[in-house]
Symmetry: none
Subunit: 412 residues, 2 copies
Amino acid sequence: MKVILIISDGIADQPIKELGGKTPLQMANKPAMDEIARTGVNGIMDPIAPGITPGSDTAHLAILGYDPYKKYEGRGAFEALGAGLEVKTKDICFRGNIATVDNKFTVLDRRAGRIRDDAEELVEAVSRIKLNFFPDIQVVIKHTIEHRCAIVLKGPHLTRMISDTDPHKSNHQINESQPLNDSSEALRTTHIVNLLTREIHRILDTHPINMKRRAKGLLPANAILMRGAGVVPKVRPITDIYGIKALAIAAGALYKGVCKSVGMDLINVQGATGDYETNTIAKAKAAVENLPRYDFILIHIKATDNASHDMDVKKKIKMIEKVDKLVKYILQNTDPDKVIIAMTADHTTSTESGEHTGDSVPVSIRGKTVRVDSVQRYSEIDCAQGGLGRIRGVNLLPILLDYAGKSKKFGE
Amino acid sequence: MKVILIISDGIADQPIKELGGKTPLQMANKPAMDEIARTGVNGIMDPIAPGITPGSDTAHLAILGYDPYKKYEGRGAFEALGAGLEVKTKDICFRGNIATVDNKFTVLDRRAGRIRDDAEELVEAVSRIKLNFFPDIQVVIKHTIEHRCAIVLKGPHLTRMISDTDPHKSNHQINESQPLNDSSEALRTTHIVNLLTREIHRILDTHPINMKRRAKGLLPANAILMRGAGVVPKVRPITDIYGIKALAIAAGALYKGVCKSVGMDLINVQGATGDYETNTIAKAKAAVENLPRYDFILIHIKATDNASHDMDVKKKIKMIEKVDKLVKYILQNTDPDKVIIAMTADHTTSTESGEHTGDSVPVSIRGKTVRVDSVQRYSEIDCAQGGLGRIRGVNLLPILLDYAGKSKKFGE
């Protein structure tokens, strides 16, 4: 049997005042999701551990079976891998924001006026930037989506143990990166990152595109804020651990990167954008089409989380109902005797606060080998009554592969 | 208070098509088991961890409180201990199958035509076999039940890190045992095992009993297939950890061996056979009779698992109903104020696939100190609604001994 796992980012929520204390999942019209809950087994899952608020990176690492406390080494490498950059074991990677700064390096806009069209060309102008004094360091920068990019440093004596240059809010100066330990590598890496920040600004500030943007009254995109220094986690790939072929269908670079780092294949789906406009049916079709070639397919949908970060309850409900169409397509186009379908979230995102929380998330799993419980609907509250009880993120993949008959016996 | 724990091997199941998606536990008529569920606390248990398929050996080790990832060192020593052989710390032990091979060592039947009557005498003929070239090695072989035996190698420079000679299917040649690491001990142990395999064949092939078997048209039992090389796990006995006297009532050598390895006493019960014909009432009586002398009695019943491996749903239901008589006897002959009664399985065995799975198993516990929940029946689905929630195998014994008032306080 095969497994399709649908992860709706931040789909779980806390009680929402304008919904009378209900959650968006309780209020949305989602017949396909409810069918999976009704015909399957349900439970709640702590992506990392009870009360621990996960990042998207640590949550996905856990859901793919790795203890993030042992294996997580920063977010940067996932972004770089997801951007399609080649990342070697010792490369130090960062997420980048294309931003607007004044001539004192004060951040005026962390997203350069939510730049889109010009971003790729501007990043291209610094994509292979050389640093004086550090001839042994190679820099690779690649645009991903919107105002985002990935940065990779290659060379000897580097470490991820340095702080972000991104001040994480506007009207603050770009931070000087600081070493996070006493090593000479950390000091050296901060020197490189701080020099890189100045060099990028020097090139971008006077770039013709930014001249045009200023002329049009747009904010110039004249800096790159770096954060989440990381290296590729040292893990045995899931393909090897479980002897499976695995595919990820995701738009966001981070999610693609986590999946790639654990040995999963990636495909790009036309119209899958990672935002509200994403073509969920195209993703569902891609999953069904690829099923003959894979044992495990993960579909990631980002915009449920976006709606919570935007604190937009209506949009969250609408996006849940859009994901339901994806679930319906998969239900209608797969053989229940041959495919295990599972749904969950990587974490809860509160639409009241706009932030991730450490709440558990609902899980529903349907398939021939699954013991059916009495839960009728897919929600944070309903699933807590289910036959799975309360599991951890790291338990999910072993459970799914066991239902699919792909568990290896430990002992005799 | 005292504890009686009834482990029905593989009694838990996945949904069965011919039962309309129900499990044998849901369909069986088992008033005594349901009484324990109704008057006790219930839950589901991952013998090892969620989604991990246990062997019978690792599962029992876990249920007796030991993390099998840390303590398991192969199955062989349990078989040898269970067979009543003396096993020292460094002895290397194997499970053996008495088999039929042709003169090219191709396995014609892994069980020599399910040999029974002649097995003991044939094994006796090789029970103290001497190996040329290895005068410092002592070999001990003992028949257990049916076509099974246990083999112990004693001597210096041996290791369990070698592969099986058992090809695990018919029409394949006996494997040459291979070293599983680079040590000289592993190489030496494979030489011994491979020589032993040839010597056993040389002696058995021309043994008078096999001559008679051939004359009768029966398959000769002319080889012993070796598997599961193991040593006794290095554990502190449960008798010592908890300060209790503990007894196991089991027929299968493996189960007796695991229990013995953790310090439990064993008794042989007349009519307890480990198969469908086993006298469950005799086992129940033995438990009740021995209760004055023990704090903890484990009763193991094997045939529920056999029915699943045979993919025989009717037999599984019948066997569950037979176990129910055992439970009834214990209920009727013990004082509920003085005895905690618990029921569980060591793992799920799917009667659809005939294989162990990584599903959780139901647990029900009854006794004066136990908080009663609202579960009415003993089954995989019902128990998931119980007051115990989802526990691990290693949690069970501490929970039971705590109900019995035998838990030691940690801290003050």
